[in-house]
Symmetry: C2
Subunit: 81 residues, 2 copies
C-alpha cells in the first residue's frame, strides 16, 4: 500500500524528507562558499555587483549557444543533413 492509497509509510516519508534536507543543507553550504569567494574577490578589489552581472551575461550567452546548437541539430535532422 502506498501513500496515495491512504496508507503512509512513516519510514519511507522520513527517508525522503531527510534525504531532501541533506541535499538542501549541501546547497546552503555551497551558497556560503560562493559568498566567501565573492568576499575574497572583493578584498582583492573586484566589484561584486559587476562580477554578478558578468556571470549572468556569460550564463545567457552559454544558454543561447546551447539553444542554437539544439535548434541546429533539429533543423539538420529535418533536412536529413
Amino acid at each position: 500500500m502506498n501513500a496515495s492509497q491512504g496508507g503512509i509509510s512513516a519510514q519511507q516519508l522520513r527517508n525522503f524528507i531527510e534525504k531532501i534536507e541533506r541535499l538542501e543543507q549541501d546547497k546552503a553550504e555551497l551558497t556560503e562558499v560562493i559568498r566567501e569567494v565573492f568576499g575574497e574577490a572583493k578584498s582583492e578589489g573586484f566589484d561584486v555587483k559587476v562580477m554578478r552581472q558578468l556571470i549572468k551575461i556569460r550564463r545567457m550567452k552559454k544558454d543561447e549557444l546551447v539553444e542554437q546548437e539544439e535548434l541546429l541539430g533539429l533543423y539538420r535532422q529535418a533536412l536529413g543533413d
Copy 2:
C-alpha cells in the same frame, strides 16, 4: 596593484569567475537531484506540496531552537550561570 587601484588581473578575475561558475553548477545539480527525489516521492504517492510545507515547518522549528539556544547561552553568560 590590485583591481581597486584601476589595474585588473585578467587571470585573477578569470579564476574567481570560473570558481563561482563551478560552484553555481554544483548548486544547479543539487537542485536537479532534489527535484528527482521529490519526483520519486510523488511516484510513491506522496504529495509534493505537503512535503515542501513539512520541510519548511521543520526548518523553522530548527531555526527557532538554534536561536533560543544562542539566546540562552547569552543570558547564561550575562548572569555568569
